[in-house]
């Protein structure tokens, strides 16, 4: 079969390309417009990653990090932070979403207030909490002293309290966001599924177990993994609250890496510290990408 000549694209780039030039007018402009993005990507994403991998390839940095007694403690802290920080946060988000899917103006108002910790900037909010929890002159311990004439707990300077405070602040900060994600997923569940369940005599807990959770399980799992990935890099909650102290006891990999790089001028060790999260991080990202592809 022959193609009629009229079906051919007569305005192809090659057709408008001037003699002697490699790119057409449109191609030049397209290139010009993607140039800022491409440059930004190369400068701020590709180059730092490549440079980090280059620094991380210094094998002599590994023994320095692995023999540091603080490193093992840091790994434990990171594990505790992820398991409790993400676990408790996501379960709370799931529970609270049951309230926020309810209709009514009051619920909408409370939703708006509930979002404040997430929308408020990190530095002033977390520093305010730091001041409140300061065991020497913080509001909470001063109140305890005024009421009971005893010193309150060292909220930020006793390592276990410190980790507890860090996890609490992390949950407080990010809970609203994940709650709203789950609320959005729940609002997408067809109402007739609940009506059918009610007709079949399902109790509210059975409705949650057999209708709600199966419908949002995918979103919940994806959100949990995404939250775990982001939380591994959560520097602010720790650095602003305890600075990794006392005596390095509340560091996670994110803050420990910074400490190596900037305090000890050992960038290689800093990168190696961060890279030691990769065995957990990479599988999480792979699973996440696979799930997203399957859902598509």
């Amino acid at each position: 079969m022959t193609t009629p000549a009229t079906n051919r694209i007569v305005t192809s780039p090659a057709a408008v390309r001037r003699r002697g030039s490699l790119l057409s007018f449109e191609e030049s402009w397209s290139l010009f417009f993607i140039l800022p993005f491409a440059l930004t990507f190369i400068l701020f994403i590709a180059y730092p990653i490549a440079y980090a991998l280059y620094l991380g390839s210094d094998l002599s940095a590994y023994p320095r990090v692995l023999t540091d007694p603080i490193y093992l403690q840091t790994l434990v802290n990171t594990f505790v932070f992820i398991v409790f920080g993400v676990g408790v946060k996501m379960l709370l988000a799931l529970a609270l979403s049951s309230f926020f899917v309810l209709p009514g103006r009051g619920v909408r108002l409370i939703s708006a207030l509930f979002l404040i910790p997430w929308v408020a900037p990190h530095i002033p909010t977390i520093l305010s909490i730091r001041w409140m929890l300061n065991s020497d002159w913080g509001m909470i311990n001063n109140l305890i002293f005024q009421l009971f004439r005893v010193d309150g707990p060292a909220w930020l300077t006793q390592p276990s309290y410190g980790m507890f405070s860090i996890i609490t602040v992390h949950i407080w900060k990010y809970l609203p966001f994940w709650t709203m994600i789950i609320v959005a997923a729940r609002l997408g569940i067809p109402k007739d599924l609940y009506e059918a369940a009610k007709i079949d005599g399902a109790s509210p807990s059975q409705q949650f177990r057999y209708v709600t959770f199966p419908a949002i399980a995918g979103v919940f799992l994806t959100s949990t993994m995404l939250s775990a990935i982001w939380s591994l890099g959560d520097f602010n909650s720790i650095y602003l609250l305890t600075g990794g102290g006392p005596m390095e006891r509340t560091n996670t990999l994110a803050t420990m890496g910074i400490r190596y790089a900037f305090r000890k001028a050992d960038f290689e060790a800093g990168v190696v510290t961060m890279m030691s999260a990769l065995p957990v991080l990479v599988p999480l990202i792979v699973i996440l990408l696979r799930r997203m592809r399957e859902q598509r």
């Binding site: 102290g245 006392p246 005596m247």
Partner: protein
């Protein structure tokens, strides 16, 4: 393609123009504790600009920020022309000089060598590992030592006078913890005895710990550079010094947050009267009160010598000579030297340090002999002068062994304190771990 080329050329031209606007001299300086201090330095920078017709870009940073910024910039190959931070002499310059990263400032120092104290010059005469030779790889500009401050009015409120203060080491500290603080607590004041910091995020505990070591006669590095912390006699003295240091922390006489204080938190806590005694390098604590609260400066606050060491003799003090650095990779080395030549003239730096109220002690004998210091009637400046001139001084161990700077970088002393006060280790076990790590660092 020609069009694309034109667009790229324009972009390059724009970037080039911005680059051409860069100053002739870049200075990254750690902020002072008062505006007066920063302004005094700004004036000298302006004077250099006027005298040379060149431009300078001066940026002030908080101490930890200068340190982080310089470390990063050095790694990236774009350090400033001139920089100063408190931590350089303690943690970095011996290593950077050895790694051939610092600019050789001999051409600036040699002509004015006679102006400096010998110890100050020794502290910047550093070994370059690449050439195997020593040279002046930093400019000494001021010096400091930790001081003891206390609130006299609070001591009196507790029912005591300065005459009641013991003169000897442990009785002095115990008096505040066991007698004065409890007396104030009984009156309903939520106050602690001693601001005994032990944080790894501050350099102050490192400096103060070395005074404690002096008080107990513990010399961890011999003058020939040998580490001797593991030798039985030294080890016993180190254990005793560390026990003395952590006693107020374990006994809840120090504010609980002191285990995590940043560089300025000890000042804040003391100035908020949360603890009765503070140990702090420089006169930054009293000077912060001089203008706004002259009564506190003149009457309520005291700066006193350290209590006598355990052998009954005055405790030798330690001196940290603060250094200005320029780097081999600095873009304008000649301008850096020209600026330093101006700054280090006694007639430039002398008035500047006096304008700072005496926070820093000069490293030039001529300036220290000035009546501003030597005949001062100021209660704090005179106490500081007395401490510098009357007390014996011992250099910090990194003077004997440049690798000791890594002990400071890793904050090993504070980590040992942490083992005792947080992990509940026995002091001897913590000292053994400390000695082992020190040995590893000093043999690298």
């Amino acid at each position: 393609m020609r069009r694309l080329g034109l667009m790229l050329s324009t972009a390059i031209l724009l970037v080039g123009t911005t680059g051409a606007l860069a100053a002739d001299l870049t200075i990254w300086w750690t902020k002072g504790t008062t505006e007066i201090e920063d302004n005094a330095f700004k004036d000298i920078v302006s004077r250099w600009e006027k005298e040379t017709g060149k431009t300078a870009e001066l940026s002030f940073y908080a101490t930890a920020d200068t340190e982080a910024k310089v470390v990063t910039a050095l790694k990236a190959g774009s350090p400033p022309d001139i920089t100063f931070d408190f931590s350089f002499d303690l943690a970095y310059s011996p290593t950077w000089a050895y790694e051939d990263q610092l600019a050789d400032l001999s051409s600036v120092i040699e002509p004015i060598k006679g102006e400096f104290q010998e110890g100050a010059l020794d502290s910047v005469y550093l070994l370059n590992g690449a050439t195997g030779k020593r040279g002046y790889y930093a400019a000494p500009w001021v010096q400091m030592t930790p001081h003891v401050h206390y609130w006299k009015d609070m001591l009196e409120t507790a029912g005591f006078s300065e005459a009641d203060l013991p003169k000897d080491w442990q009785p002095f500290w115990d008096f505040w913890c066991d007698t004065v603080a409890p007396a104030l607590r009984q009156k309903g004041e939520r106050v602690y005895g001693i601001g005994q910091g032990s944080s790894t995020t501050s350099n102050d505990p490192y400096l103060v710990m070395h005074i404690y070591l002096n008080a107990f006669g513990a010399q961890v590095v011999a003058p020939d550079g040998t580490l001797q912390i593991a030798q039985p006699e030294t080890r016993a003295k180190v254990i005793a010094a560390l026990n003395s240091y952590v006693k107020p922390i374990k006994g809840k006489c120090a504010p609980p947050d002191a285990v995590n204080w940043g560089g300025a938190d000890d000042n804040t806590s003391f100035l908020n009267r949360k603890n009765l005694v503070a140990m702090n390098p420089t006169l930054s604590i009293p000077l912060s009160q001089k203008v706004e609260n002259p009564d506190a400066y003149n009457n309520a606050l005291r700066t006193v010598p350290w209590p006598n060491g355990v052998d009954g003799s005055p405790t030798p003090t330690i001196i940290s000579v603060k250094q200005i650095l320029s780097f081999k990779a600095s873009p304008n080395p000649e301008n850096a030297k020209s600026f330093l030549a101006l700054l280090l003239k006694p007639e430039t730096i002398g008035p500047m340090l006096q304008a700072n109220g005496g926070r820093w002690v000069p490293v030039m004998p001529k300036l220290l002999a000035d009546p501003f210091y030597s005949q001062s009637t100021d209660p704090h400046v005179s106490a500081m002068y007395k401490q510098f001139t009357d007390s014996a001084t011992l250099p910090l161990p990194h003077t004997y062994n440049r690798l000791y700077a890594k002990v400071m970088q890793e904050q090993l002393w504070q980590k040992a304190m942490g083992r005792i006060v947080i992990d509940g280790w026995e002091t001897d076990k913590a000292v053994d771990e400390l000695a082992e790590r020190m040995a590893a660092l000093l043999t690298e």
